[in-house]
Amino acid sequence: MIPASFEYSSPSTLAEAIALLQQHGEDAKILAGGQSLIPLMKLRMAAPKHLIDINGIGDLSYIRESGGYLTIGALTRESDVDGSQLIRDKYPILSDTAGVIADPIVRNMATVGGNLAHADPANDHPATMLALGAEVVATGPGGQRTIALTDFFTGLFTTALNADEILTEIRIPTPAAGSGGAYLKVERKVGDFATAGVAAQVTLDGDTVRGAGIGLTNVGPMPIKATRAEQALVGKPANDANIKEAARLAAEDSEPSDDLRGSADYKRSLVRVLTTRALRQAISRARGGH
């Protein structure tokens, strides 16, 4: 399959890339890993007139902790997240997530920024980033601004980014002591999108839940933050009855539709089961287990 023709630029600095976005406006698309965009272009579901390839911009790929945040450069490859010892040790929910995106070969190109900016509700990072309370940095002609993930997704494949802005960094608040998280995904086979996925992050104070974040993958037109389920846990003991009640609410707040991956009822049931399991694992990790 051959994509429609386009003009191509490969700027070497962020400033050049932003100037190109200003010049071409809505006709331009950013090309990062290309693992979502290129398939869409081959199917002619996307036909941007101008591609701005940011792979040659050097300082957009990093994973580091600073100032109370884990910061991830938008161009960081999923395989680098998956292989990061820092993330494996301190942010296992992110290892869980990067390790189930597409397949190991696709992950060598696919980027964290692209997984978010593409705003496909079937992508895996949005749920995890919602659970972690992340924000993204958007860089445009006027400089940088941060956007909370809860404000980032505005519809199917659409985000709060302006046409002349690039998502340049993801910032995740360093979890307090006694925190743990997990991401669970049911997929028909390696490489498929989630039939359903659930991200859960908790902070415990003894046996009491002090904070909870729950995100849902591919069970609605946008990534879903299961706010009622989170609220059902905070201030309560981290026990099975409360986990099950949270899971029930998460399933209730999901908006799945029937498709080739299963019926809406089946997917809602999956959300309930996966939320239960993800919360159990998150609580176990918060207590120092695996």
Binding site: S5, N55, I105, G191
Partner: protein
């Protein structure tokens, strides 16, 4: 657009349309047909090549994205008339039936052994989880990579 790609150690220059996929550049511009096109939808991994040493699906990369970078294809495995250990492994362990997935399987296996010289069976199955064999010959493919892992790298 004029590009220069270092393919199997040799700089190759061409004037290409930006929409040309890397796999078409390799097969149709360079006439190197060892790299196969299978699904053309980023699923099967038959088109796997190494880009700066990492396996990628060349049906989902534009040739212009490889400008100034290193590409290694299945033709680059053999050195001075001697097969690479991964090729020997597939030969010795009957790691192919129809052979269509083989170039991609070997590039993925080659890359795995560079990063993990003594992979477990689970490591191998993980590494090739983005490469499909429609003959379902996975048992012998795993054995082939294990065979290669027991030989010294060239």
């Amino acid at each position: 657009m004029k590009i220069s790609v270092n393919v199997n150690g040799t700089p190759r220059e061409a004037d290409v349309e930006p929409r040309l996929l890397l796999v078409h550049f390799i097969r149709e511009v360079l006439n190197m047909t060892g790299t196969h096109i299978g699904c053309d939808t980023t699923s099967c991994g038959a088109c796997t090549v190494l880009l700066d040493g990492r396996p990628v699906k060349s049906c989902t990369v534009f040739a212009v994205m490889a400008n100034g970078r290193d590409v290694m294809t299945v033709e680059g495995l053999e050195k001075d008339g001697k097969l690479d250990r991964i090729q020997d492994g597939f030969h010795e362990e009957h790691g192919l039936q129809c052979g269509f997935c083989t170039p991609g399987m070997m590039m993925t296996g080659y890359s795995l052994l560079k990063n993990n010289p003594s992979p477990s069976e689970a490591d191998i199955r993980w590494a090739i989880s983005g490469n499909l064999c429609r003959c379902t010959g996975y048992v012998n493919i795993v054995k082939s990579i294990q065979h290669a892992s027991q030989k010294p790298a060239q």
